[in-house]
Symmetry: C2
Subunit: 243 residues, 2 copies
Protein backbone atom coordinates (compact mmCIF):
# COMPACT_ATOMS: atom_id res chain seq x y z
CA UNK A 1 0.00 0.00 0.00
CA UNK A 2 1.51 3.31 -1.06
CA UNK A 3 0.74 6.29 1.15
CA UNK A 4 0.16 9.93 0.28
CA UNK A 5 3.61 10.68 1.71
CA UNK A 6 5.20 8.11 -0.64
CA UNK A 7 3.41 9.77 -3.54
CA UNK A 8 4.68 13.23 -2.50
CA UNK A 9 8.24 11.86 -2.26
CA UNK A 10 7.85 10.37 -5.74
CA UNK A 11 6.88 13.76 -7.17
CA UNK A 12 9.66 15.70 -5.51
CA UNK A 13 12.56 13.22 -5.58
CA UNK A 14 11.47 10.31 -7.78
CA UNK A 15 14.17 11.11 -10.33
CA UNK A 16 16.72 9.72 -7.86
CA UNK A 17 15.13 6.30 -8.26
CA UNK A 18 13.78 6.54 -11.83
CA UNK A 19 15.14 7.81 -15.16
CA UNK A 20 13.37 11.02 -16.16
CA UNK A 21 12.02 11.51 -19.73
CA UNK A 22 11.35 7.86 -20.52
CA UNK A 23 8.55 5.50 -19.48
CA UNK A 24 6.63 2.37 -20.41
CA UNK A 25 2.90 2.10 -21.11
CA UNK A 26 1.12 -1.25 -21.15
CA UNK A 27 -1.87 -2.11 -23.31
CA UNK A 28 -3.29 -5.13 -21.47
CA UNK A 29 -5.75 -7.14 -23.55
CA UNK A 30 -8.07 -9.79 -22.13
CA UNK A 31 -10.84 -11.81 -23.78
CA UNK A 32 -14.14 -12.44 -22.00
CA UNK A 33 -17.67 -13.27 -23.19
CA UNK A 34 -16.77 -12.82 -26.88
CA UNK A 35 -15.36 -9.36 -26.26
CA UNK A 36 -11.82 -8.00 -26.36
CA UNK A 37 -11.22 -6.05 -23.14
CA UNK A 38 -8.68 -3.48 -22.08
CA UNK A 39 -7.40 -2.88 -18.53
CA UNK A 40 -7.57 0.84 -17.64
CA UNK A 41 -6.87 3.05 -14.65
CA UNK A 42 -9.03 5.96 -13.46
CA UNK A 43 -7.15 8.71 -11.68
CA UNK A 44 -8.11 9.66 -8.17
CA UNK A 45 -10.87 12.23 -7.83
CA UNK A 46 -10.72 13.03 -11.54
CA UNK A 47 -12.55 11.58 -14.53
CA UNK A 48 -9.31 10.81 -16.37
CA UNK A 49 -8.59 7.32 -17.69
CA UNK A 50 -5.15 6.09 -18.75
CA UNK A 51 -3.21 2.98 -19.60
CA UNK A 52 -1.17 1.41 -16.80
CA UNK A 53 2.40 2.66 -17.06
CA UNK A 54 5.43 3.79 -15.16
CA UNK A 55 8.95 5.14 -15.14
CA UNK A 56 12.02 2.91 -15.49
CA UNK A 57 14.16 2.32 -12.42
CA UNK A 58 17.75 3.54 -12.73
CA UNK A 59 18.98 -0.04 -12.25
CA UNK A 60 16.07 -1.74 -14.02
CA UNK A 61 15.99 -2.82 -17.67
CA UNK A 62 13.24 -1.51 -19.95
CA UNK A 63 11.81 -5.03 -20.22
CA UNK A 64 11.83 -5.49 -16.43
CA UNK A 65 9.98 -2.19 -15.96
CA UNK A 66 7.19 -3.31 -18.32
CA UNK A 67 6.88 -6.64 -16.47
CA UNK A 68 6.76 -4.81 -13.13
CA UNK A 69 3.91 -2.56 -14.29
CA UNK A 70 2.01 -5.58 -15.59
CA UNK A 71 2.57 -7.57 -12.39
CA UNK A 72 1.57 -4.66 -10.13
CA UNK A 73 -1.71 -4.06 -12.01
CA UNK A 74 -2.73 -7.68 -12.70
CA UNK A 75 -0.93 -9.88 -10.17
CA UNK A 76 0.42 -11.93 -13.11
CA UNK A 77 4.04 -12.92 -13.69
CA UNK A 78 5.74 -14.43 -16.75
CA UNK A 79 3.09 -13.11 -19.11
CA UNK A 80 3.58 -12.69 -22.87
CA UNK A 81 4.60 -9.06 -23.28
CA UNK A 82 5.42 -7.60 -26.67
CA UNK A 83 7.19 -4.29 -27.24
CA UNK A 84 5.53 -2.69 -30.26
CA UNK A 85 6.39 1.02 -30.60
CA UNK A 86 7.99 4.05 -28.93
CA UNK A 87 5.88 7.21 -28.77
CA UNK A 88 7.85 10.45 -28.87
CA UNK A 89 5.73 13.33 -30.11
CA UNK A 90 6.54 16.69 -28.52
CA UNK A 91 2.86 17.05 -27.58
CA UNK A 92 2.48 13.92 -25.45
CA UNK A 93 1.91 15.65 -22.11
CA UNK A 94 -1.09 17.81 -21.42
CA UNK A 95 -2.34 20.15 -18.75
CA UNK A 96 -4.21 17.18 -17.29
CA UNK A 97 -1.21 15.95 -15.33
CA UNK A 98 -0.77 19.34 -13.68
CA UNK A 99 -4.50 19.42 -12.91
CA UNK A 100 -4.30 15.97 -11.32
CA UNK A 101 -1.37 16.94 -9.12
CA UNK A 102 -3.40 19.91 -7.87
CA UNK A 103 -6.43 17.72 -7.11
CA UNK A 104 -4.26 15.29 -5.16
CA UNK A 105 -2.77 18.16 -3.16
CA UNK A 106 0.73 17.30 -4.37
CA UNK A 107 3.51 19.86 -4.94
CA UNK A 108 3.24 21.31 -8.46
CA UNK A 109 6.33 23.43 -8.88
CA UNK A 110 6.90 24.48 -12.48
CA UNK A 111 10.04 22.39 -12.80
CA UNK A 112 8.75 19.25 -11.01
CA UNK A 113 10.45 16.38 -12.81
CA UNK A 114 7.27 14.45 -13.80
CA UNK A 115 6.08 17.52 -15.73
CA UNK A 116 9.00 17.13 -18.16
CA UNK A 117 8.63 15.63 -21.59
CA UNK A 118 8.43 11.82 -21.67
CA UNK A 119 9.11 9.37 -24.48
CA UNK A 120 7.10 6.25 -23.78
CA UNK A 121 7.71 2.72 -24.99
CA UNK A 122 4.54 0.74 -25.59
CA UNK A 123 4.12 -2.93 -24.69
CA UNK A 124 1.05 -5.02 -25.19
CA UNK A 125 0.14 -8.05 -23.13
CA UNK A 126 -2.39 -10.79 -23.77
CA UNK A 127 -3.66 -12.17 -20.49
CA UNK A 128 -6.08 -14.76 -19.26
CA UNK A 129 -8.99 -12.58 -18.13
CA UNK A 130 -10.04 -15.01 -15.40
CA UNK A 131 -6.65 -14.95 -13.66
CA UNK A 132 -6.36 -11.16 -13.34
CA UNK A 133 -7.02 -9.36 -10.05
CA UNK A 134 -7.00 -5.70 -11.15
CA UNK A 135 -5.13 -3.48 -8.71
CA UNK A 136 -5.16 0.34 -8.76
CA UNK A 137 -1.90 2.26 -8.27
CA UNK A 138 -1.24 5.19 -5.95
CA UNK A 139 -2.47 7.66 -8.57
CA UNK A 140 -5.71 5.82 -9.27
CA UNK A 141 -8.86 4.82 -7.46
CA UNK A 142 -10.01 2.26 -10.05
CA UNK A 143 -8.38 -0.36 -12.21
CA UNK A 144 -10.97 -2.05 -14.41
CA UNK A 145 -11.65 -3.89 -17.65
CA UNK A 146 -13.45 -2.10 -20.48
CA UNK A 147 -14.74 -3.55 -23.73
CA UNK A 148 -12.40 -2.17 -26.39
CA UNK A 149 -15.25 -0.50 -28.31
CA UNK A 150 -16.82 1.02 -25.21
CA UNK A 151 -13.78 2.40 -23.49
CA UNK A 152 -13.76 5.98 -22.17
CA UNK A 153 -11.55 8.52 -23.99
CA UNK A 154 -7.99 8.21 -22.69
CA UNK A 155 -5.63 10.97 -21.53
CA UNK A 156 -2.42 12.05 -23.32
CA UNK A 157 -1.83 10.07 -26.55
CA UNK A 158 -3.06 6.83 -24.96
CA UNK A 159 -5.80 6.35 -27.56
CA UNK A 160 -3.08 6.43 -30.26
CA UNK A 161 -1.10 3.86 -28.27
CA UNK A 162 -4.14 1.54 -28.10
CA UNK A 163 -4.78 1.95 -31.84
CA UNK A 164 -1.18 1.05 -32.68
CA UNK A 165 -1.23 -1.94 -30.30
CA UNK A 166 -4.41 -3.20 -31.92
CA UNK A 167 -2.90 -2.84 -35.41
CA UNK A 168 0.13 -4.85 -34.30
CA UNK A 169 -2.07 -7.49 -32.68
CA UNK A 170 -4.18 -7.81 -35.86
CA UNK A 171 -1.12 -8.28 -38.04
CA UNK A 172 0.06 -11.01 -35.63
CA UNK A 173 -3.14 -13.05 -35.78
CA UNK A 174 -1.40 -15.68 -37.90
CA UNK A 175 0.78 -16.54 -34.93
CA UNK A 176 -1.16 -19.23 -33.01
CA UNK A 177 1.08 -19.11 -29.93
CA UNK A 178 0.00 -15.51 -29.45
CA UNK A 179 -3.72 -16.16 -29.79
CA UNK A 180 -3.38 -19.18 -27.49
CA UNK A 181 -2.61 -16.91 -24.54
CA UNK A 182 -6.13 -15.43 -24.73
CA UNK A 183 -8.03 -18.73 -24.60
CA UNK A 184 -8.34 -21.60 -22.14
CA UNK A 185 -6.43 -24.76 -23.09
CA UNK A 186 -9.49 -26.40 -24.64
CA UNK A 187 -12.02 -24.32 -26.54
CA UNK A 188 -14.79 -24.63 -29.09
CA UNK A 189 -14.53 -23.49 -32.71
CA UNK A 190 -17.10 -20.69 -32.12
CA UNK A 191 -14.96 -19.42 -29.20
CA UNK A 192 -11.86 -19.31 -31.41
CA UNK A 193 -13.81 -17.55 -34.14
CA UNK A 194 -15.22 -14.97 -31.73
CA UNK A 195 -11.70 -14.20 -30.51
CA UNK A 196 -10.53 -13.56 -34.08
CA UNK A 197 -13.63 -11.45 -34.74
CA UNK A 198 -13.07 -9.43 -31.56
CA UNK A 199 -9.47 -8.66 -32.51
CA UNK A 200 -10.30 -7.91 -36.15
CA UNK A 201 -13.44 -5.94 -35.27
CA UNK A 202 -15.53 -7.62 -38.02
CA UNK A 203 -17.54 -10.84 -38.50
CA UNK A 204 -15.97 -13.84 -40.25
CA UNK A 205 -17.65 -16.57 -42.29
CA UNK A 206 -18.07 -19.66 -40.09
CA UNK A 207 -17.30 -22.34 -42.71
CA UNK A 208 -14.29 -20.55 -44.19
CA UNK A 209 -12.87 -19.85 -40.75
CA UNK A 210 -13.16 -23.46 -39.60
CA UNK A 211 -11.67 -24.76 -42.87
CA UNK A 212 -8.72 -22.35 -42.66
CA UNK A 213 -7.89 -23.26 -39.05
CA UNK A 214 -8.01 -27.01 -39.77
CA UNK A 215 -6.27 -26.88 -43.18
CA UNK A 216 -3.37 -24.94 -41.73
CA UNK A 217 -2.95 -27.46 -38.94
CA UNK A 218 -3.19 -24.75 -36.28
CA UNK A 219 -5.77 -26.54 -34.13
CA UNK A 220 -6.77 -30.16 -33.63
CA UNK A 221 -10.12 -31.60 -32.66
CA UNK A 222 -10.27 -33.57 -29.41
CA UNK A 223 -12.42 -36.64 -28.80
CA UNK A 224 -14.35 -34.77 -26.10
CA UNK A 225 -17.29 -32.46 -26.53
CA UNK A 226 -18.41 -29.70 -24.23
CA UNK A 227 -21.44 -30.90 -22.33
CA UNK A 228 -23.94 -29.14 -20.11
CA UNK A 229 -25.42 -26.75 -22.66
CA UNK A 230 -29.14 -26.69 -23.34
CA UNK A 231 -28.85 -27.94 -26.93
CA UNK A 232 -25.87 -29.23 -28.88
CA UNK A 233 -22.58 -30.40 -27.41
CA UNK A 234 -19.85 -28.75 -29.50
CA UNK A 235 -16.48 -30.41 -30.12
CA UNK A 236 -13.48 -29.15 -28.18
CA UNK A 237 -10.22 -28.14 -29.88
CA UNK A 238 -6.72 -27.29 -28.78
CA UNK A 239 -3.73 -25.68 -30.48
CA UNK A 240 -1.40 -28.21 -32.07
CA UNK A 241 1.83 -28.66 -30.17
CA UNK A 242 4.18 -27.70 -33.02
CA UNK A 243 3.09 -24.06 -32.75
CA UNK B 1 31.30 22.11 -39.31
CA UNK B 2 31.30 21.50 -35.57
CA UNK B 3 34.36 22.69 -33.68
CA UNK B 4 36.12 21.23 -30.64
CA UNK B 5 34.58 24.01 -28.56
CA UNK B 6 31.09 23.03 -29.70
CA UNK B 7 31.87 19.45 -28.71
CA UNK B 8 33.06 20.53 -25.26
CA UNK B 9 29.87 22.59 -24.78
CA UNK B 10 27.83 19.56 -25.80
CA UNK B 11 29.49 17.43 -23.12
CA UNK B 12 29.13 19.96 -20.33
CA UNK B 13 25.76 21.57 -21.10
CA UNK B 14 24.16 19.51 -23.86
CA UNK B 15 21.32 18.45 -21.56
CA UNK B 16 19.95 21.99 -21.88
CA UNK B 17 19.31 21.31 -25.58
CA UNK B 18 18.75 17.53 -25.54
CA UNK B 19 16.77 15.10 -23.35
CA UNK B 20 19.12 12.98 -21.25
CA UNK B 21 18.68 9.18 -20.99
CA UNK B 22 17.07 8.62 -24.39
CA UNK B 23 18.54 8.50 -27.90
CA UNK B 24 18.02 7.19 -31.43
CA UNK B 25 20.35 4.84 -33.32
CA UNK B 26 20.06 4.39 -37.08
CA UNK B 27 20.85 1.19 -38.97
CA UNK B 28 21.36 2.52 -42.50
CA UNK B 29 21.24 -0.20 -45.16
CA UNK B 30 22.37 0.29 -48.75
CA UNK B 31 22.69 -2.20 -51.62
CA UNK B 32 25.69 -2.14 -53.95
CA UNK B 33 27.36 -4.74 -56.19
CA UNK B 34 25.13 -7.56 -54.91
CA UNK B 35 26.03 -6.80 -51.29
CA UNK B 36 24.01 -5.41 -48.42
CA UNK B 37 26.01 -2.57 -46.85
CA UNK B 38 25.84 -0.79 -43.53
CA UNK B 39 26.86 2.84 -42.86
CA UNK B 40 29.15 3.07 -39.82
CA UNK B 41 31.11 5.74 -37.95
CA UNK B 42 34.64 5.38 -36.59
CA UNK B 43 35.37 7.47 -33.53
CA UNK B 44 38.20 9.96 -33.59
CA UNK B 45 41.64 8.61 -32.70
CA UNK B 46 40.14 5.33 -31.45
CA UNK B 47 39.42 2.06 -33.20
CA UNK B 48 35.77 2.09 -32.11
CA UNK B 49 32.96 1.72 -34.64
CA UNK B 50 29.33 2.60 -33.95
CA UNK B 51 26.01 3.15 -35.64
CA UNK B 52 25.07 6.75 -36.41
CA UNK B 53 22.88 8.06 -33.60
CA UNK B 54 22.07 11.01 -31.43
CA UNK B 55 20.10 12.51 -28.60
CA UNK B 56 16.61 13.94 -29.06
CA UNK B 57 16.17 17.71 -28.95
CA UNK B 58 13.94 18.99 -26.16
CA UNK B 59 11.56 20.43 -28.76
CA UNK B 60 12.09 17.73 -31.37
CA UNK B 61 9.92 14.65 -31.89
CA UNK B 62 11.48 11.20 -31.74
CA UNK B 63 10.76 10.73 -35.46
CA UNK B 64 12.32 14.10 -36.33
CA UNK B 65 15.48 13.20 -34.39
CA UNK B 66 15.91 9.98 -36.39
CA UNK B 67 15.44 11.88 -39.67
CA UNK B 68 17.98 14.50 -38.57
CA UNK B 69 20.61 11.84 -37.80
CA UNK B 70 19.99 10.19 -41.17
CA UNK B 71 20.13 13.50 -43.05
CA UNK B 72 23.32 14.63 -41.27
CA UNK B 73 25.15 11.37 -42.07
CA UNK B 74 23.87 10.75 -45.62
CA UNK B 75 22.67 14.09 -47.01
CA UNK B 76 19.32 12.42 -47.77
CA UNK B 77 15.89 13.74 -46.84
CA UNK B 78 12.47 12.07 -46.95
CA UNK B 79 13.94 8.61 -46.75
CA UNK B 80 12.01 5.52 -45.67
CA UNK B 81 12.77 5.17 -41.97
CA UNK B 82 11.25 2.43 -39.86
CA UNK B 83 11.23 2.33 -36.06
CA UNK B 84 11.81 -1.29 -35.08
CA UNK B 85 12.76 -1.64 -31.39
CA UNK B 86 13.79 0.19 -28.21
CA UNK B 87 16.92 -1.08 -26.46
CA UNK B 88 16.96 -0.63 -22.71
CA UNK B 89 19.31 -3.08 -21.04
CA UNK B 90 21.04 -1.75 -17.93
CA UNK B 91 24.39 -2.70 -19.48
CA UNK B 92 24.21 -0.63 -22.66
CA UNK B 93 27.03 1.81 -21.85
CA UNK B 94 30.61 0.73 -21.44
CA UNK B 95 33.89 2.17 -20.34
CA UNK B 96 34.55 2.93 -24.02
CA UNK B 97 32.67 6.22 -23.95
CA UNK B 98 34.71 7.45 -20.98
CA UNK B 99 37.89 6.36 -22.78
CA UNK B 100 36.87 8.25 -25.90
CA UNK B 101 36.17 11.45 -23.97
CA UNK B 102 39.66 11.20 -22.52
CA UNK B 103 41.24 10.70 -25.95
CA UNK B 104 39.40 13.71 -27.31
CA UNK B 105 40.60 15.82 -24.35
CA UNK B 106 37.02 16.53 -23.31
CA UNK B 107 35.89 17.04 -19.71
CA UNK B 108 35.13 13.68 -18.10
CA UNK B 109 33.65 14.48 -14.72
CA UNK B 110 32.04 11.48 -13.05
CA UNK B 111 28.56 12.95 -13.36
CA UNK B 112 28.88 14.28 -16.95
CA UNK B 113 25.38 13.86 -18.40
CA UNK B 114 26.37 11.74 -21.47
CA UNK B 115 27.80 9.11 -19.08
CA UNK B 116 24.31 8.42 -17.72
CA UNK B 117 22.27 5.43 -18.76
CA UNK B 118 20.58 5.74 -22.15
CA UNK B 119 17.59 3.92 -23.61
CA UNK B 120 17.93 3.96 -27.38
CA UNK B 121 15.24 3.64 -30.00
CA UNK B 122 16.38 1.86 -33.16
CA UNK B 123 15.36 2.92 -36.66
CA UNK B 124 16.41 1.30 -39.89
CA UNK B 125 16.63 3.07 -43.22
CA UNK B 126 16.90 1.66 -46.73
CA UNK B 127 18.76 4.09 -48.93
CA UNK B 128 19.88 4.36 -52.52
CA UNK B 129 23.62 3.69 -52.14
CA UNK B 130 24.53 5.88 -55.12
CA UNK B 131 22.88 9.00 -53.68
CA UNK B 132 24.61 8.93 -50.29
CA UNK B 133 27.50 11.25 -49.43
CA UNK B 134 28.72 9.81 -46.10
CA UNK B 135 29.52 12.55 -43.61
CA UNK B 136 31.32 12.01 -40.28
CA UNK B 137 30.05 13.74 -37.13
CA UNK B 138 32.04 15.70 -34.53
CA UNK B 139 32.88 12.52 -32.63
CA UNK B 140 34.09 10.61 -35.69
CA UNK B 141 36.80 10.84 -38.28
CA UNK B 142 35.25 8.36 -40.73
CA UNK B 143 31.75 7.57 -41.96
CA UNK B 144 31.86 4.64 -44.38
CA UNK B 145 29.94 1.73 -45.89
CA UNK B 146 30.80 -1.81 -44.81
CA UNK B 147 29.54 -5.08 -46.27
CA UNK B 148 27.21 -6.47 -43.62
CA UNK B 149 29.20 -9.69 -43.26
CA UNK B 150 32.55 -7.94 -43.07
CA UNK B 151 31.75 -5.17 -40.63
CA UNK B 152 34.05 -4.47 -37.68
CA UNK B 153 32.77 -5.33 -34.18
CA UNK B 154 30.57 -2.46 -32.95
CA UNK B 155 30.67 -0.69 -29.58
CA UNK B 156 27.95 -0.86 -26.89
CA UNK B 157 25.06 -3.14 -27.91
CA UNK B 158 25.18 -1.93 -31.52
CA UNK B 159 25.77 -5.44 -32.90
CA UNK B 160 22.52 -6.53 -31.21
CA UNK B 161 20.77 -3.52 -32.76
CA UNK B 162 22.02 -4.51 -36.25
CA UNK B 163 20.91 -8.13 -35.70
CA UNK B 164 17.42 -7.05 -34.68
CA UNK B 165 17.16 -4.60 -37.61
CA UNK B 166 18.17 -7.36 -40.01
CA UNK B 167 15.57 -9.74 -38.53
CA UNK B 168 12.88 -7.08 -39.00
CA UNK B 169 14.04 -6.37 -42.55
CA UNK B 170 13.94 -10.11 -43.41
CA UNK B 171 10.44 -10.50 -42.09
CA UNK B 172 9.39 -7.49 -44.21
CA UNK B 173 10.72 -8.88 -47.50
CA UNK B 174 7.20 -9.60 -48.68
CA UNK B 175 6.54 -5.87 -48.76
CA UNK B 176 7.59 -4.75 -52.28
CA UNK B 177 7.43 -1.03 -51.50
CA UNK B 178 10.18 -1.57 -48.94
CA UNK B 179 12.47 -3.52 -51.25
CA UNK B 180 11.86 -0.98 -54.01
CA UNK B 181 13.75 1.67 -52.05
CA UNK B 182 16.98 -0.33 -52.44
CA UNK B 183 16.87 -0.71 -56.23
CA UNK B 184 16.85 1.69 -59.18
CA UNK B 185 13.46 2.16 -60.86
CA UNK B 186 14.22 -0.43 -63.54
CA UNK B 187 16.20 -3.54 -62.71
CA UNK B 188 16.93 -7.02 -63.99
CA UNK B 189 15.61 -10.20 -62.40
CA UNK B 190 19.14 -11.25 -61.28
CA UNK B 191 19.52 -7.86 -59.54
CA UNK B 192 16.25 -8.36 -57.66
CA UNK B 193 17.26 -11.89 -56.72
CA UNK B 194 20.67 -10.77 -55.47
CA UNK B 195 19.00 -8.15 -53.27
CA UNK B 196 16.77 -10.81 -51.69
CA UNK B 197 19.78 -13.11 -51.27
CA UNK B 198 21.81 -10.32 -49.64
CA UNK B 199 19.06 -9.57 -47.12
CA UNK B 200 18.33 -13.23 -46.40
CA UNK B 201 22.00 -14.17 -46.31
CA UNK B 202 21.47 -17.34 -48.41
CA UNK B 203 21.20 -18.30 -52.10
CA UNK B 204 17.79 -18.71 -53.74
CA UNK B 205 16.77 -20.92 -56.66
CA UNK B 206 16.62 -18.80 -59.84
CA UNK B 207 13.55 -20.41 -61.45
CA UNK B 208 11.48 -20.50 -58.23
CA UNK B 209 12.37 -16.92 -57.41
CA UNK B 210 11.38 -15.57 -60.83
CA UNK B 211 8.13 -17.57 -60.80
CA UNK B 212 7.19 -16.33 -57.34
CA UNK B 213 7.82 -12.67 -58.20
CA UNK B 214 5.78 -12.88 -61.43
CA UNK B 215 2.95 -15.07 -60.03
CA UNK B 216 2.40 -12.70 -57.13
CA UNK B 217 2.19 -9.74 -59.49
CA UNK B 218 4.90 -7.87 -57.60
CA UNK B 219 6.97 -6.95 -60.67
CA UNK B 220 6.20 -6.54 -64.35
CA UNK B 221 8.44 -7.05 -67.34
CA UNK B 222 9.10 -4.05 -69.53
CA UNK B 223 9.50 -4.12 -73.31
CA UNK B 224 13.09 -2.89 -72.96
CA UNK B 225 16.18 -4.93 -72.30
CA UNK B 226 19.42 -3.79 -70.74
CA UNK B 227 21.99 -3.36 -73.48
CA UNK B 228 25.73 -2.79 -73.39
CA UNK B 229 26.76 -6.02 -71.70
CA UNK B 230 29.24 -8.38 -73.34
CA UNK B 231 26.78 -11.23 -73.83
CA UNK B 232 23.03 -11.39 -73.31
CA UNK B 233 20.71 -8.41 -72.97
CA UNK B 234 18.50 -9.21 -69.96
CA UNK B 235 14.92 -7.96 -69.69
CA UNK B 236 14.20 -5.04 -67.42
CA UNK B 237 11.47 -5.13 -64.76
CA UNK B 238 9.81 -2.64 -62.48
CA UNK B 239 7.57 -2.94 -59.43
CA UNK B 240 3.88 -2.92 -60.29
CA UNK B 241 2.14 0.29 -59.37
CA UNK B 242 -0.49 -1.24 -57.09
CA UNK B 243 2.16 -2.06 -54.50
Amino acid sequence: MITRKDAATFFTRGYEKYLPHVSVDCVIFGFHRAELKLLLLKWKQANIWTLPGGYIGRRESLEAAAHRVLRDRTGLKNVFLHQFHAFGSTKRKEASIRKLFGILGLPVSRDAWPLGRVISIGYYALVDFSRVRPQADYLSDTCAWHAIDERPPLAFDHDDIVTKALETLRSSLDSPSLVATLLPERFTMPELQRLHEAILGRPLDRRNFQKKMLDRGIVERLAERRTGGAHRSPFLYRFTTQT
